[in-house]
Every structure is written in structure tokens, then in C-alpha cells.
Symmetry: C2
DNA sequence: TTGTAGGCGTTATCAA
DNA sequence: TTGATAACGCCTACAA
């Protein structure tokens, strides 16, 4: 908002010697106004370079036509696709999207939520940070009467009154681990996630379910939880290596975790998939160009975002009937270079002598 | 902006039997107000669950504390890093960022710019779409008195009154191609970009300068321009293949272009780097895990965004002295698997029989 | 230290 | 079909 040089409705009204209201209505194509008048108004608005003041409009109409979104990260394939879905869908529905990024920091997330409320967004979409445990903030939002939809990540704890859009995390993880078992792996580990967030909980659930179903004992030394980032994968593999106890196969809770594992493996001279094989939850556009090509549980990221917006808009427009929706989209197992077939020498590599 | 249930300054004022102004000042820590009063106000504000209405504040103060940013793409390593830099820097300066995405579409970009102006953002950062040629929109913004800074992509045509932040595109391209020449390549091609955008112009300029400097004739059949996307790389390589005239080495104008080349190569059975070697402008976090590991001209993407915000804020706060800044950040050549050494058999592969 | 008056640019309501 | 008036919630300037 700058040097007061902006043209206002009054400017147009004066020039045309009509009232401000007439101009306002004409510009919005109100049927009240004569066609002739409308044309005149639009013409001079253009001439004067009129740009409607959305802020004033929002204040007056008590409707901002903005939705807010909070994500943990942005330079991250999954989220950037989700965001894309959100933006495109919102745009199609003439909504502006206010993006905020928590950087996996719970405090920052809280600040962003408060800001979005202060901006009087009409609704909020959120995928929570890996640190977030506090439910108060969501109850507050609910009390404020602002519709909120969770995409992908949400608190695992009981929390009603919000719609959710997510993947079938348990099933996706199950399928991946089942596949690993079927090609012969038995020493199977898990890196990433945590239990207070739905995706962490459900993905490890799928992991355990698969092992149980095939009666494979779970070795808790091979389960490393914490966060969803690259550093978690990196530290995880290093940890296994250091302890001299490496699983043959690792299920990575997210794509960044898998990247971290690639990174550590390279550094340690651990060969993928020969020494440790791997699959992860979450695909990426470059996964098939990686060396080795990374297998993954593909999530319909873009659609996740799109659905979230649709549900949110529905909530916004039917404030009274606001029922909860819980959409679960299926995943798809994509097998590439990793997790393709168990390498012959897998029992050759032993605990104490990680090669290279 | 919802069901009118929001607490306002008046609510707090009434409860405390003071005036609205007192509350407003107290909440903003104005020195006018007694410590005691301030405490009381803050306390009841908290009790009532007060959330300041930023919209009203903006309208009244004629300052939105928002900056707008327009980028061509979001699920794109470079831009997501730029955006990250913008967000973090804006956040540190208590500015909210309104992100819009043109999806490489000039019309959409124009709409977004109008929306940002309508939102009365205090300033705008933009990296233009590959289609954008029209300068009128920028002149309009200038006339509106809204500071605007170009990051990375801007119109190549003469346009004054705006600050710019970019890489040393010519130099970066030059170094990359020079490197290719030094390791022995002579049949060198270029894919991506176009001449009406600075980065397209400068990168090919660097390319040509390098060839000229080393007195290597330029084969225009091996220069393919158009856009900056994956599809351009993909179509580019296919085109070379189809025509039966393949360079030994390709400089890709962007990282997505390189990915497109990888894709096409895989499909066609063209081997990288044996049949065609490659380097691209723009690094990525996974480049070193690609097969083969992709060499690149690294851009300080995050810093680009950060600097743009700094300059923009400076422009916003010194509306009068608003001088143009033109920051050019250096790039860094990162050699990995590709472009590492010329393969011996390079003159074996001939035009008509692209090997398997 | 606190309060009053006026205005920011729109829209909604009701009257002409 | 048009217009006058009163919000919307806050801030600035000035007065008490």
C-alpha cells in the first residue's frame, strides 16, 4: 500500500458525477445498474488505471477470499507438489492462497497460524511440522470459527472438528515391506517419522503389520524414529553402521530420508542395493534417474492439495452444515532399481565388516 | 474473515472502560500508555482471545506489511530455494509473503500482478514466465509506485526503474563450456532458453563466447532454444536424434532441461556421457545421486531470494531515494560424473547409428 | 497518560 | 436505476 496515489471508487464517481455506490455496483456487474452506465464506468475505470482495493473490500464484506496454507518445508518434492495442487485449485475458484512455511518448527508454525487468522483468511490448510504436538492451537482455530483441513500430516492425538486428506499410509508401507519380504529380505529396518504424527504412526504400523503377517521378528535396533528429514536418514544409516548392525533392507519413511541414506551410504562406502537395499514412502520426479534408481510408494501429492482445497471451500461455503470429511487416497508401489531383487551375497555382508 | 465473532479493540475497551485508542496503543507497546494499563490491556486481550485484524490495520495505516512474489514454477529446485530465501528473509523482517505462481503463463502472471497490486502489497519480487515479453505491466507497476525487484529472470528488453538480482549467467555458462572444451569436446550444442529473457540471452552468450574464444565453429543446428522446462530438454534431444545429427556435448540452459535430456536419452537408448555428455546451469540437491552424477553451474538460489528481499525492503523504506540496485552473484562450476573427461570413443559414435 | 474526531476504500441496506 | 448513510476495525493527529 503505497503513496496514496491509488485511484478509488470516489475518483471514478466524481469524474462521472455519479455516486460511489453506483460505480461500485457497476464494476461488480450488479444487475441494478443500466448497461449504459456500466459501460461508462468500466471505461473510465480503465482510463484512470483503477485497481480495486482488496483490503478495503475484505474489511467491508467480511470475506477475504484468501485461504492460508502452512507446510513444513517448501524445497521438498512432495510439498511443492501439494502446494501446486492447492494453488491451482484455489486459483480456479478465484481464491488467493497465502503460503506459510514452518520449517519444521512448531513455534514458527504457531506464529503463522496466528498471522493467518489475523489476516482473516477464509480457511486454512495445514500439514504440521514434525515437532508439533500441541493441540491447543487447533482448538483455538476451531473456536475462531475458521475452517481448517489437514493434508498429509496431522496430530495423531484425538482431535475432532476438522476434515483430513491423506494417503493410505499404513497400506502403502505394508505393500512396500511386503514386497521386500517377498523378494527375500528378512533383516528389515525402518528410518524416519515419529509416533505423534499420523504418517509416522501409520507408516510404521504398516511396516510392523507386514513383518508380523509374514512372521518375521521385529528387531527394534533397526527401527529409528525421530523426524522426516534428510538428516534423519543420514544419521540413521550412520548409526547402524557405527553400531555395526546393519539391516539388509531399510524402509525410509519419506523421500528426504531416503536421500539422506544415499548420502550417508556414499560417504561410508556402503553400497546400495548390494549392502543395504531401500525403498521409501514418497516418490519424486528424479527418483528413476538416481543411482540406483529409487523405488518408492507413490503419493498423489498434487491431488492431495486439490482435494484439500475442495473440501475447505465446501466448508467455507456451508458454514452451518460443516461436516467432517476424511479423504484417503491410495498409493502406488513403484519398483525401480532398488528393492527389485534380493542380491545374492546378502548374507555375505556381515555386521562387523561393512565393506569398502 | 468469518462469522463476525472476532473480538475487536472495542470489546477490550468496553470491558476495561477505557477508549479504543488506549487499547490500540497499549497493544502496540506505545510509550504513551502507563505500564499498568498496558499490562491490564494485554491481559484481557489474551483472555478474550483477541486477534488483531490485519486487514483493518492495513487499510488504516496504508501499509500492508506484505510483499508479493511471482515465480514461474514451484515444484522446481531452483525456484523453491529462491522462495525459501524470500520467505525466511521476509519473515525475519516481519513481512508476510504472498506467493503466486504463473506456471510459465504470461496471462496468468499478469493476473497475479494485478491481484498483488489490489492486495496493496508493499513491494513485489518477480521472476518472469518464459512467455513474458510485454513490458507494459511493469511500467504500470512503476506508475503505481510499487517497488519491484527482478530475481533471476527478467525481460531482456530495456526497462529502467527496477532493481535486479541475478547470477553471472554469461560467466557461468562460459566456464562450463570452456571446461567442456578443455577436456576435449568440439561438437558442442545448447538446449533451452530464449533470447527475450536475460538468462536465456546471457547463457547462450557465454556459450558462444567460449566457442569463439577457442575458435570452435558454432553449429547452429546444435542450438535449440524455446523454453526453460523439462519438455524442452526432452524434445531437444529427440530432435537431434531424429535428425541424425547429435553433438558430443550439450549445455543445458537449466536443470529441468537437463532432466528432460536424461529422460529422452533413457528412452532413446542414448548413453550419457558416452554418447552425449552434458552439463547444465543450475544445481540440485540430488544432482550428485543421478546416474550419471550431473555436473552443473551452481547458483546461490537461496541467497538470490534473500538479497531480493533486502533490496526490496530498502526500496520500500526509502521511497524517495529509490535508486536501482543490480546485484550479480557469482556461480560455481561443480564437476561430477558428467563433463568430467571426454570419453575415448567419442569419434566412434556417428550420426546415423546412435548406439544402444 | 488518556481520549476524541476523522478517515482508510469498500460494501450492504434501505430509501428515493 | 441510482444514491445517501452507516458500517467494517483500526490508526493518526490532535486535544484534553
Amino acid at each position: 500500500m503505497r503513496n496514496g496515489s491509488h485511484i478509488t471508487l470516489d475518483d471514478i464517481a466524481k469524474k462521472l458525477s455519479v455516486s460511489r455506490v453506483t460505480v461500485s455496483k457497476a464494476l461488480r456487474g450488479h444487475s441494478d445498474i443500466s448497461v449504459e452506465m456500466t459501460k461508462k464506468v468500466i471505461k473510465t475505470a480503465k482510463e484512470l488505471g483503477y485497481s480495486p482495493n482488496i483490503i478495503a473490500r475484505s474489511l467491508s464484506s467480511r470475506r477475504s477470499n484468501m485461504i492460508g496454507i502452512v507446510v513444513p518445508k517448501i524445497a521438498h518434492y512432495f510439498f511443492s507438489r501439494v502446494i501446486e495442487g492447492v494453488y491451482d485449485t484455489a486459483f480456479e475458484n478465484r481464491y488467493e492462497t497465502i503460503l506459510t512455511v514452518s520449517q519444521e518448527n512448531s513455534e514458527r508454525e504457531w506464529k503463522h497460524l496466528q498471522t493467518l487468522v489475523s489476516m482473516r483468511v477464509d480457511g486454512i490448510i495445514i500439514s504440521i511440522s514434525q515437532e508439533t504436538q500441541d493441540l491447543k492451537r487447533f482448538k483455538w482455530i476451531r473456536k475462531m470459527g475458521i475452517p481448517l483441513v489437514f493434508v498429509d500430516r496431522r496430530p495423531e492425538a484425538q482431535l475432532s472438528g476438522f476434515s483430513t486428506v491423506s494417503n493410505n499410509d499404513r497400506e502403502g508401507a505394508f505393500q512396500a515391506v511386503e514386497h521386500a519380504i517377498k523378494i527375500g529380505y528378512r533383516k528389515i529396518g525402518f528410518i524416519g517419522g515419529n509416533l505423534h504424527i499420523n504418517i509416522g504412526k501409520n507408516r510404521i504400523q504398516g511396516f510392523e503389520d507386514a513383518l508380523n503377517e509374514y512372521r518375521i521378528p521385529i528387531n527394534h535396533e533397526w527401527i529409528l524414529q525421530g523426524g522426516f528429514g534428510k538428516e534423519d536418514g543420514y544419521n540413521g544409516l550412520k548409526h547402524f553402521h557405527q553400531k555395526g548392525s546393519m539391516p539388509e533392507f531399510i524402509f525410509a519413511a519419506t523421500y528426504p530420508v531416503a536421500l539422506g541414506i544415499y548420502e550417508a551410504a556414499k560417504e561410508l562406502g556402503v553400497r546400495i542395493p548390494d549392502d543395504v537395499d531401500i525403498i521409501c514412502f514418497g516418490d519424486s520426479d528424479v527418483a528413476r534417474f538416481l543411482s540406483p534408481a529409487l523405488s518408492a510408494v507413490r503419493q498423489p501429492a498434487r491431488e492431495l492439495g486439490a482435494r484439500a482445497v475442495q473440501i475447505l471451500l465446501e466448508n467455507i461455503n456451508n458454514q452451518k452444515v460443516t461436516k467432517e470429511h476424511h479423504v484417503i487416497l491410495p498409493t502406488e508401489l513403484v519398483i525401480r532399481g532398488t528393492c527389485a531383487a534380493k542380491k545374492a551375497q546378502s548374507n555375505k555382508i556381515e555386521i562387523h565388516d561393512t565393506p569398502r
